[in-house]
């Protein structure tokens, strides 16, 4: 067993218990042993002075793509989990659009084993909704949950059939797992490369209208109401979606939703010059959407921030805009962007941000973590919210470097990440 660890004198923020005060945290046997002022460490304890730093529950990301199995040149479970640890994440949820698709208990078990072997952030698999993500018949939710799946999703693709979505929401109730949907009406979005608007018109690129997302958001909300199931809406990008969610929550429908750092930071103008690093699905929208997303993160209409970490090989993005794949990496920039844009930007307090990146996502997917309560596993992150740094994609732990944020000045980054009391990431204060 590793030595006990005392994190001394940090600003301890634990939204699960409404805690925000200077305190010490004692970690012993992989668990939080005590949180308090002036804790006396056991004799063999390692004591770390974390004065001036923030101690929070480890960050939790409900939406990442790890590309294993199938595209290990772009990312593996191990490199993704390593990148997550560097970003302050102690738990990430891996989408099942791998090759082959993670749609059965053996495939789910493989992700779990790869994650344990890697030993960085915890990786919770998400199983597919439909066999092969083909949108035809349900995958075996029960067996996948038995093997470790925490949710189901056909992400990367929408669930086109209303009947299949309805059945998935009903069937998932037995196992108390959310059904996460990538909201995209496929006939409206077909062939689209970016947001439908003036920029797309000027660039001569086919757009995806906001309505393509909103139609499916509305459908999913209605089906959640019909079935009593829990629908989780992935990467919301439009002001219309936010409004639909707000009203659904008012009516008590079981709907949760996430937003990515890029959607609340960038607009479709980032695609100017055919910048393929700004090509993602859903696409970057307009300034009014960005404003609505920010307001909804504050109000709670959007429950949590997720990265939608989507690694792609460098040469895939070095292509004409139409030919480049969708998606960007995000695990190592998520906290810095969120802190810079939302906390420094005056939208959220730091405890509110920690809630949306740790406590809330853990609650949405019923995951352990998101708390510093004594007796819980010591998934902890030490954040330096004074650190100013410049995004250098070449320095990422992720195998892929596809980000539109290269060269951007950010404030805030993880200094220590502990999973089950074990140090999985340590960043020297002077670094970069």
């Amino acid at each position: 067993m590793t030595r006990p660890l005392l994190l001394k004198g940090g600003r301890v923020i634990d939204p699960s218990r409404g805690l925000d005060q200077t305190a010490d945290i004692l970690i012993q046997d992989g668990k939080i042993a005590a949180v308090g002022v002036g804790l006396g460490p056991p004799d063999d304890a390692e004591v770390r002075d974390v004065k001036g730093l923030v101690v929070s529950p480890g960050l939790v990301d409900l939406h990442v793509h790890l590309r294993e199995p199938g595209n290990e040149d772009e990312e593996t479970v191990a490199t993704g989990a390593r990148a997550a640890a560097a970003g302050g994440f102690t738990a990430i949820c891996a989408m099942p659009n791998t090759d082959p698709v993670t749609d059965n208990q053996a495939a789910v078990g493989f992700i779990v084993r790869q994650s344990l072997r890697a030993g960085f952030a915890r990786v919770h698999p998400i199983g597919a909704i439909s066999v092969g993500q083909k949108g035809e018949r349900l995958a075996e939710f029960g067996e996948m949950v038995g093997a470790g799946a925490v949710a189901v999703s056909d992400d990367g693709k929408p669930v086109v059939s209303g009947h299949l979505m309805r059945t998935a929401l009903e069937y998932a109730r037995t196992f108390e797992i959310p059904v996460a949907d990538h909201c995209e009406e496929p006939t409206l979005a077909a062939g689209g490369a970016m947001h439908e608007g003036l920029v797309a018109t000027r660039l001569g690129l086919k757009g995806m209208p906001a309505a393509a997302e909103e139609i499916m958001v509305a459908r999913d909300i209605l089906l959640a109401e019909l079935t009593g199931g829990h629908v989780h809406l992935c990467h919301m990008s439009t002001r219309g979606s936010v409004e639909l969610i707000r009203r659904a929550k008012e009516r008590g429908i079981q709907v949760t939703a996430e937003v990515t750092p890029h959607h609340f930071t960038l607009t479709d103008h980032a695609c100017e010059g055919y910048e393929t690093h700004a090509k993602m699905n859903p696409p970057l929208r307009e300034a009014a959407d960005v404003a609505a997303l920010r307001a909804a993160v504050k109000s709670g209409a959007l429950d949590c921030i997720a990265s939608d970490h989507a690694p792609h090989a460098y040469d895939e993005k070095d292509a004409a805009f139409d030919d480049a794949p969708f998606g960007i990496v995000g695990l190592e920039t998520a906290f810095g962007i969120a802190y810079t844009e939302l906390v420094q930007g005056g939208v959220l307090t730091l405890p509110e941000l920690v809630a949306r990146m740790s406590t809330h996502p853990a609650r949405v997917f019923h995951l352990p973590g998101g708390t510093l309560a004594p007796g819980t596993p010591a998934d902890v992150c030490v954040l330096d919210v004074t650190a100013r740094w410049t995004v250098d994609p070449a320095a990422f732990h992720s195998k892929s470097h596809n980000t539109p944020f290269g060269g951007r000045q950010l404030t805030g980054r993880a200094r220590l990440t502990l999973v089950g009391g074990k140090m999985v990431h340590e960043e020297a204060p002077a670094a970069r």
């Binding site: 608007g197 690129l205 055919y274 040469d315 292509a319 805009f321």
Partner: protein
């Protein structure tokens, strides 16, 4: 390289009015070269040019090739079918291979918007966009401007309406930028299912009906309606399209003033344009084709570093 135009010509959106006028003015002396028995001047002697056509084209490719040959450049044509592109080579690899062969200029037509800019950013050679996806077709825009100027004596203050499938048209985008920069008023007219989002924010007037456009316009530039638009559900039928939006003689007869009729080709007679209009006295469709060679000579000459004031001398063999 020349500061006059920059390294590449990817579109008219980012050119200044002065740069556009410079190209048109430079094209004037080159018009005469094509009228000579020996249609050749030495302005680009020793320059190597690749015409890289990833999409089928007859008129534009031949026009470029004549422009190049009449300037004495050495030219090579490459088409997508039967080339390494058909074998799955990426655009970036194509670019590197061209670079490795030390060519001076590349004329590229590609189905993806932004392909010309993509190539221009990756090779030292000058790149000329001969049409990229739905983005721009700058030399078409320029030859349309030159033709309007020839016919009407000016561009500024004219009402020019683009008719038809603006959504999918690179010709429309280049025309809009070029016309607005030179002071024309621009209208667009067609079914709303073929109008791009936010088009009015570019500073153009949207006409719902062709009759309104004809009443307003001095020039109608009738865009080609690609026949597959019907199959993909943007319009119900070509028959109805002609009935509602077709530029017919009957409609033109009600025009309150002289109208100039243009079409970038290839035409679908009886779909977007009535044959009697295309072949009629107001049509300048073949003048557009003639001007295409001169405009492309001007663009090639200027990008290769030719001095605008020497264009007249260049055609006599004394330039450079």
């Amino acid at each position: 390289m020349t500061a006059a135009l920059g390294k590449d010509l990817v579109g008219l959106e980012h050119l200044s009015p002065e740069q556009i006028r410079l190209i048109l003015d430079t094209a004037e002396p080159f018009k005469e070269v094509s009228e000579r028995p020996i249609k050749k001047v030495p302005a680009l002697r020793g320059k190597t040019i690749v015409n890289l056509f990833f999409e089928a084209s007859t008129r534009t490719r031949i026009s470029f090739e004549f422009a190049e040959k009449r300037l004495s450049a050495d030219t090579v044509n490459a088409a997508a079918s039967g080339s390494s592109v058909a074998k799955g080579e990426t655009l970036v690899d194509t670019a590197r291979n061209l670079e490795a062969m030390r060519i001076d200029m590349v004329v590229i037509r590609h189905g993806s918007s932004g392909a010309a800019q993509f190539l221009g950013e990756r090779i030292r050679s000058n790149v000329i966009n001969a049409g990229d996806g739905k983005h721009e077709h700058p030399t078409q825009g320029l030859l349309d401007l030159l033709t309007i100027r020839d016919k009407r004596g000016k561009i500024e203050g004219l009402n020019v309406c683009l008719v038809g499938d603006v959504l999918h048209s690179r010709v429309a985008r280049s025309n809009i930028w070029g016309l607005l920069k030179l002071g024309a008023r621009v209208g667009v007219c067609g079914p709303h299912s073929l109008m791009p989002r936010g088009i009015e924010d570019l500073g153009v007037t949207v006409f719902r009906r062709i009759e309104e456009a004809i009443e307003w316009a001095d020039v109608l530039n009738v865009l080609r309606l690609q026949l597959e638009r019907m199959e993909t559900g943007f319009i119900p039928s070509l028959r109805e399209y002609f009935r509602v939006f077709g530029v017919t003689l009957e409609r033109l007869e009600r025009a309150p003033r002289e109208l100039t009729i243009m079409h970038p080709g290839p035409m679908n007679r009886g779909v977007e344009i009535d044959s009697r209009v295309a072949d009629g006295p107001h049509s300048v469709i073949l003048d557009q084709v003639t001007n295409g060679v001169a405009v492309r000579m001007a663009v090639l000459y200027l990008l290769a570093g030719g001095k605008p004031e020497l264009a007249d001398a260049a055609k006599r063999g004394g330039g450079e």
